[in-house]
């Protein structure tokens, strides 16, 4: 007995948005979100297993790469952030802009583990690395985020 797909959108739409936005600029993230759920809708009657979130994040990751490759802009790790100091004193902290300043491996590891909530074994599957490497990338990424965002002002 498979759930109606609408319930999947309702339950996971927000986390998929956060994954897409964590990996892409806002407009591209919207494209990736709809591509992700369209692909999931197409395949929903054949989906096996109970790890729906991991499955959706895997699709979102692939769609984000597609969008990046297809985009006219080459999005670098410094994308979207002017050369300005980190935002002041804990206000208007922009996680998305800070994530865009991480090296790609750290960015995906932080997004998939800390934002999507996937265990490192699944992060490794999604990104094609090992669980240990995913754990290290996430940990390095969080350390870098702390410098970018918070602790240097604390």
């Amino acid at each position: 007995m498979r759930e109606p797909f609408e319930r999947i959108v309702a339950a996971h739409g927000e986390v998929v948005w956060r994954v897409c936005r964590g990996l892409l600029p806002e407009h591209d993230a919207e494209d990736a979100w709809s591509e992700t759920f369209l692909a999931a809708l197409r395949a929903w009657d054949r989906f096996e297993g109970d790890r729906v979130r991991g499955w959706l994040v895997t699709i979102a990751h692939r769609k984000a790469l597609d969008v990046l490759r297809a985009g006219v802009r080459v999005v670098t790790t410094e994308e979207g952030v002017p050369d300005s100091p980190a935002p002041p004193a804990g206000r208007d902290l922009d996680l998305w802009a800070a994530l865009a300043r991480l090296p790609e491996g750290q960015r995906t590891a932080v997004v998939h583990h800390h934002i999507a909530g996937l265990p490192f074994a699944e992060v490794a599957t999604v990104t094609g690395t090992t669980p240990a490497a995913a754990r290290k990338a996430a940990s390095d990424g969080v350390r870098r985020l702390r410098t970018l965002l918070v602790l240097e002002d604390a």
């Binding site: 109606p4 979100w33 996937l118 985020l145």
Partner: protein, 212 residues
């Protein structure tokens, strides 16, 4: 392994900084998905809700036409799960795609007798039940017919009880007017939407104004 069992994935910094998602953004994203889910990517079942004087109706359709009308008391979750099991799990809320169906109900409750021909998909009824529903579609607006009289119009004229079952399991109430079937003693009889709803519909068709 489940999605949440291992590696609690929280980091205070990241947690605090993930901005709340604007519901309007999620609605816009959903709208994009609806617009894209067409043609070969069309869902098995489209649905929307329609507010009406007899409560919120759930209207579900396949590409062929409206396949299910459900009353609020049937429970949206249960109805959607049933549609997923019977027709297909690719069930998507697509209000704009069901605008015509929504207009049909608006017109009906505004007093229109046969608002317009609404394409129907009767796949949720089979065999004798489907035959009963076909006969039922010919019962005109504002008329009443007894279960026995309706049975007499079918290939099994004595199957009064089976006619009752067919009406009680009509997947397309209102559109296929099972509310026009009443008991021989003049009482309204049972109705999926509740007897009070049946009374209101009969009153509407008798020309009474139907307060919202």
């Amino acid at each position: 392994m489940t999605d949440t069992a291992t590696d609690p994935a929280t980091d205070p910094v990241v947690d605090v900084l993930v901005p709340p998602t604007d519901p309007a953004l999620l609605a816009r994203l959903h709208g994009r998905l609806e617009a894209r889910a067409t043609g070969a990517d069309a869902p098995d079942v489209h649905y929307r809700t329609v507010d009406s004087p007899v409560g919120r109706l759930l209207v579900a359709a396949t590409e062929a036409g409206v396949a299910r009308v459900a009353f609020e008391r049937e429970g949206e979750d249960a109805v959607l799960q049933h549609l997923a099991d019977r027709i297909g799990p690719r069930v998507l809320r697509t209000p704009a795609r069901l605008d015509a169906a929504a207009r049909w109900f608006d017109a009906y409750f505004a007093g229109a007798h046969d608002p317009f021909e609404l394409p129907l998909d009767t796949r949720l009824a089979r065999g004798f039940r489907l035959e009963v529903l076909e006969r039922l579609r010919a019962v005109p607006y504002g008329e009443r017919i007894s279960y026995a009289a309706l049975a007499a119009r079918t290939s099994s004229p004595n199957a009064v009880r089976a006619v009752g079952t067919a009406c009680a399991t009509n997947p397309l109430p209102l559109v296929i007017p099972c509310h026009r079937v009443t008991r021989s003693d003049g009482s309204v009889g049972a109705y999926l939407g509740g007897p009070e709803t049946k009374v209101r519909l009969l009153a509407l068709e008798a020309g009474a104004a139907l307060p919202g």
